[in-house]
Amino acid sequence: MTADLLDGSAVGMRFGGVHALREVDVALQPGRRLGLIGPNGSGKTTLLNVLSGVYRATSGAIHFRGRSIDRLGPGARARLGIVRTFQHPQLAASLTIAENVRLGAALGRRVHGSSAAEETARVDAALELFGCAAYGEGLPDEVPYGVRKMAEVARAAAVEPVVLLLDEPAAGLSREERSELIEAIERYYREHPQTALCLVEHDVPLVTALCPELLVLAAGQALASGPAQEVVRDEQVRVAYLGENVELKDTEEVG
């Protein structure tokens, strides 16, 4: 058993009287790829926000490499190498796609202490890998939505993060673009097998293609977790999330 990189234990998040998360345990080891699924409002994005430091958990504890990071904000966690994407691309409108991706590479330079030349190399590699190279000089509102989504992931990949948190990277993408996304992430993994990944996604086939393990959230609680194929066959999961008669292979998008 490898030591945990990012470990959230009994994480809870309350907004006023609403429990968005209750006692959720999540642990990421190097190379582990965890898919996070669940119906809308089940707390997936909240968990990502808590892990990345956007929200401070109201209960429970989060550790990174054995050290408590509960009190660290998103910037400080990013500098440790915990990097996230946003469901709606958060790209600066006045910066080209390449310049936006460079923000990630610049963070990577601080995380890894690497050189300026490596920063440029990381930008180019990430643009190439996620199919944005031809659009590098374009401004975000001039390129197709799919490119913006890809650039959002490319920016995080350009960090070469220790922990990568992806928030619905495939939302709004066409079937073709989804397979390009899967392929790009797979290729990224072959080059960086030690990266710990947490993927929030509605598209179950996409999640199972990328993540050997799943965590299912419902109403802010962990409903099931374990190897992907077992979890998707779990009766409880099917009832709570997928609807009883859904054939998984055909699930284009749920929720």
Partner: protein, 290 residues
């Protein structure tokens, strides 16, 4: 002690006036998410009309009614034709458009009417009652009562009427308001009419005290901004309490420190509240979304 008593009581009286000025701003903020910097200028135009009516011998009640109606009409026109259309460039653009309208009006007043101070009739100068060592005129008492009634009526209106609820909904979620059967654009226009009328009412109580110039009402609207920021944009009761706190605090500043530091103390209060409690003393904390 007299100085203290005067500061306290006149602070409370003018505090309610600040709250009224603030509530006029809240009406637009509730619907559209920005404030109008042109409130004082709308009031000034309406007041000039009232001033001429008064010169022509019109009775006070007619003067007062004309000012309120003129404020509503002017507010409605500005909202309908200038500011609401500007919202498509964002709420900050709309807020800046109100600044543009305001300085245009001021410039026109200076050009065509002149900037000199003019006396404006008051609701009554004789002493109505005496509290301790402080004498309040009928104008003070009427101002206090009218402000109180309007603020209370608006507070209930926001909570209980269909339009009031729709106003809140438009700000939070435009499509929800449509479902209540109230089109958001007509709500926005309506908010401008209401807030123009409120500007007129506020002006009626300010102009007799500070005399009528192109900027005299504007100077009080700043206190209205402070009242709603300190009280919280979504709490009318908060604006009343905050208005009174500001009225007393600025009176005490003027009496015991230096009258020229009143606006500085206003700025400091506003920034302090924004930093410590951004939602205002009585506001709800907004939920952050990512």
């Amino acid at each position: 002690m007299d100085l203290f008593e005067t500061s306290l009581i006149s602070g409370i009286v003018s505090g309610l006036l600040y709250a009224l000025a603030g509530v006029g701003l809240v009406v637009i903020y509730r619907v559209s998410g920005y404030v109008s910097f042109a409130q004082g200028d709308i009031a000034a135009v309406a007041l000039y009309l009232g001033f001429w009516l008064h010169q022509g011998g019109a009775p006070y009640l007619l003067v007062a009614a004309s000012v309120v109606v003129a404020g509503a009409v002017l507010g409605g026109l500005i909202g309908r034709f200038v500011v609401v259309p500007m919202e498509r460039f964002g709420i900050l653009a709309a807020a800046m458009a109100t600044i543009a309208v305001g300085i245009t009006i001021q410039g026109m007043e200076n050009a065509f009417i002149g900037g000199e101070a003019r006396p404006f009739p008051s609701a009554g100068e004789s002493v109505a009652l005496t509290i301790g060592s402080v004498s309040l005129t009928w104008a003070d008492v009427i101002s206090f009562l009218v402000c109180g009634v309007i603020v209370a009526a608006l507070a209930t209106g926001f909570k209980r009427t269909r339009v009031g609820i729709a106003m809140r909904a438009v700000h939070d979620n435009p499509s929800a308001a449509e479902m209540l059967g109230v089109a958001s654009v007509s709500l926005k226009r309506m908010s401008w009419i209401v807030s123009g009328a409120l500007a007129g009412v506020t002006g009626l109580f300010i102009a007799p005290v500070y005399s009528l110039t192109p900027t005299s009402v504007n100077a009080i609207v700043v206190f209205g901004f402070a009242a709603i920021v300190v009280g919280g944009f979504d709490s009318i009761a908060g604006a009343v309490v905050a208005g009174m706190v500001i009225g007393v605090a600025t009176n005490l500043t003027a009496a015991y420190i230096n009258p020229d530091l009143v606006t500085t103390s206003l700025f400091l209060m506003l920034v302090t509240v924004l930093l410590i409690r951004p939602q205002g003393l009585f506001g709800r904390r907004p939920m952050a979304r990512v």
